[in-house]
């Protein structure tokens, strides 16, 4: 799967799972500051990623993920 395909899926999940305005979602958007996702929200999106992409994500892998782009790259590297 190409990076931009992963991004589109991530964007859809953010819209559907967390009700985030799609216009705000770009690769540079910060999860907490720009998209206002709280710590439970992160848990929700991780579960959604795991279901959608059929992967498992450890908590340790999330420590460096602060933006949409970093999340997309993490997912892309695991596919």
């Amino acid at each position: 799967m190409e990076v931009n395909e992963v991004f589109e899926k991530v964007k859809t999940l953010f819209e559907e799972e967390l009700g985030i305005d799609s216009e705000k979602i770009n690769m540079d958007a910060k999860l907490e500051e720009d998209l206002e996702i709280d710590s439970l929200g992160i848990v929700e999106v991780v579960m959604a990623f795991e279901d959608e992409f059929e992967i498992e994500i450890d908590d340790e892998e999330l420590t460096d993920v602060g933006t949409v782009g970093q999340a997309v790259n993490l997912l892309h590297s695991k596919l």
Binding site: D38, L40, V43, E44, M47, A48
Partner: protein, 242 residues
């Protein structure tokens, strides 16, 4: 229809809760050793037109908890309501209490409920709806001679539940503690008649509690009508702790 998981539901308070909730929900009857008794509870729920399944687990063991949830999620989508009821006693006065007696009670009554709650909460967060109900004890509020381990474990549940209520309140999940007083079950069957009379004398309502007294409150806490009640400890004790 929502799915409820009641741990320790083969007898006593847990059984009563399972039977009451069987009227409105699919009920998973969690049991440790008493398979036959758990199956009887399942049959009773089915006889009344409900849906039910017995699942064996040792809540003190995380792997066993995971296996039980995997099995439940295979049959039903997820656990919407978790009633953490399973518990054990190993009474002794403090100077004589063995490490095993302390550790076993804390591991089962407190840590076990951490395992089940953690496992259930993720799906509840995803669904943006859930109910966690912990069956503690007035002993966790007042203490009791010979029950330092049990009282500590039951008091621990209060801190666990209150913290959970703050973490997940934004997702329409409530977490509450029900604290039974003296309820007529196997666990209190060792109390002789004379002591029973002494206990009843201390109560405002002059009788021992029945498992149904607890089940009725649990049933209410499961409903949408209770959505503004969270992080609370509700003693059901005939006025013992008043």
């Amino acid at each position: 229809m929502k799915t409820v998981f009641v741990t320790g539901a083969s007898r006593g308070i847990g059984k009563s809760i399972a039977l009451e909730l069987g009227k409105d929900y699919q009920v998973i009857v969690g049991f440790g050793n008493s398979k036959d008794k758990a199956e009887e509870v399942v049959e009773e729920i089915k006889k009344l037109g409900g849906e039910s399944l017995a699942v064996q687990l040792n809540i003190a063991d995380r792997n066993s908890v995971d296996e039980a949830f995997n099995l439940i999620e295979k049959t039903y989508k997820n656990v919407d309501i978790l009633v953490n009821n399973a518990g054990i006693t190993k009474d002794n006065i403090l100077p004589r209490m063995k490490d095993d007696e302390w550790n076993d009670v804390i591991q089962t009554n407190l840590t076990g409920n951490f395992y089940t709650s953690q496992r259930a909460i993720k799906k509840m967060i995803k669904n943006k709806w859930g109910r966690l109900i912990f069956i503690s004890s007035v002993v966790g509020i007042s203490g009791n001679q010979g029950q330092a381990n049990y009282a500590a474990s039951k008091a621990g549940l209060i801190g666990l539940s209150k913290s959970i209520s703050k973490e997940v309140g934004s997702r329409n999940i409530t977490s509450n503690v029900v604290a039974p007083g003296y309820i007529e079950t196997d666990m209190t069957s060792f109390i002789n008649d004379e002591n029973k009379e002494n206990i009843i004398e201390q109560l405002s309502i002059k009788r021992m509690g029945m498992p149904e007294d607890i089940a009725n409150m649990v049933s209410f806490l499961c409903k949408d009508e209770s959505e503004y009640i969270t992080g609370q400890v509700i003693p059901i004790d005939g006025g013992l702790t008043t």
